[in-house]
Symmetry: C2
Subunit: 223 residues, 2 copies
DNA sequence: ACTTGCATTATTGTATACAAAAATGCGAAG
DNA sequence: CTTCGCATTTTTGTATACAATAATGCAAGT
């Protein structure tokens, strides 16, 4: 999007992701405008976008607050993501081309390299991961699915999860991508969907484990 | 939302739904501002919302156009809706209360009355239908699912579909709601989900039949 | 005649001032 | 001591002017 608006969006989003704005904090447009060095107009645009992605919630009287995600909300988001991304994988399996397979393989190789680095290159892993899922979404060929998933994938929770991964978990993630590629090579949509769902659900439990003690969680059995 | 912004939203949305703004038409903020009797600021807000619901698409250079939905887009939207609303039904089945059952029954009775009127009260049907699905979504207890579905349900396509229904189709719709209620009474989530998916998918084919001749469609087999 | 570059026009993006609405704090009444 | 009402302050909503950018058309050169 446009320069100022985009800058405000990224700035605010980063502040939330890094905890500079803690959950529950009230947000004032004017203050953010100062922080971002722009006027309130683009800040309001940015807040709209952040609200649609549940970074921010609005009170009945239109005041904005940094969203505080209960563990149930997190489970909810992961579950929806598992369902939607599973469907994307299934569609992608039946549409994948040789050229796309090459791109996916290259991407996953980069992920492997990031994981193998010493110490593990988490940022590189995240970037590779993001690209892998983006290619898959493109292959799924559903703009609507893409837009729904984009609203889910860039969540604070998802973003932070990888930082709790050990090298073994990162490696397992790479391995699951490999299995998805195998399913793609056979054009087996059901296989791809199953692996993808497992992939996302495991990610959820990695998150839940890292945040245990808050409450006991059980992700509903989905399908 | 706020007065002017909301008014702009509804006005523009109605213009699109009723075909006053035909698909592909370029949209100019200033012109809409005049039409709605407000300034560009709330119009821009409204356009953002309409864009997020795919009433409007934006060119690379940020010009706005009334979205033109290909039949594939329609199938895509219905399929996603079937999946998401099926999941909502499943969750609702395990959380439904006696009080909610009463509300749902009352609602579906109103639908029956609308259908039975002579001539059939399509607006009443739509309103009852909307409320039925809203209660169900509330019961599902997933804010995220709600927001994803809201972006899908109010589509031009969905809205227009009912106007192609004959009384028999409207009655069948009522009957499917009854079956969902039966599943709820037994707290059988799988049943509720299956009926809901069938319900939405039938609605799609009703639409497709009414628009046949454009192209042959086959909704992918989902799950 | 066809392209290329520039000036012009149309359209969107941003800043700012003002209006409306909501929250807050204080004081008086019970 | 609590509660209610009102004035004040804070915050968001809207209008409008101006800036930036993209589209358009025209003219000159090939």
């Amino acid at each position: 999007m446009s320069r100022a608006s985009d800058h405000a969006y990224k700035t605010i989003r980063t502040m939330i992701l890094q905890g500079e704005l803690s959950p529950g904090t009230q947000i004032r447009e004017e203050q953010l405008a100062e922080t971002c060095g722009v006027s309130r107009t683009p800040v309001r645009d940015a807040l709209r976008r952040l609200e649609s992605q549940a970074f921010i919630r609005r009170s009945e009287s239109q005041r904005s607050f940094v969203a505080d995600w209960s563990i149930d909300d997190v489970a909810d988001a992961f579950e929806l993501r598992a369902m939607l991304e599973g469907r994307a994988a299934r569609r992608a399996a039946s549409r994948v081309t040789d050229e796309a397979m090459q791109r996916l393989r290259t991407c996953n190789r980069r992920i492997f390299e990031a994981v193998s680095a010493n110490p593990a290159d988490v940022a590189g892993f995240l970037e590779g991961n993001r690209e892998f899922h983006a290619i898959l979404l493109e292959l799924a060929g559903s703009r609507r699915l893409s837009s729904l998933l984009n609203a889910l994938v860039e969540q604070p929770v998802v973003w932070q999860t990888a930082h709790h991964y050990g090298r073994d978990a990162l490696l397992r993630s790479h391995g699951e991508h490999e299995e998805i590629l195998a399913a793609f090579a056979r054009h087996d949509g059901a296989w791809a969907q199953a692996v993808m769902e497992a992939h996302i659900r495991r990610a959820f439990h990695a998150y839940a484990d890292a945040h245990q003690g808050l409450t006991t969680i059980d992700m509903a059995v989905g399908g």
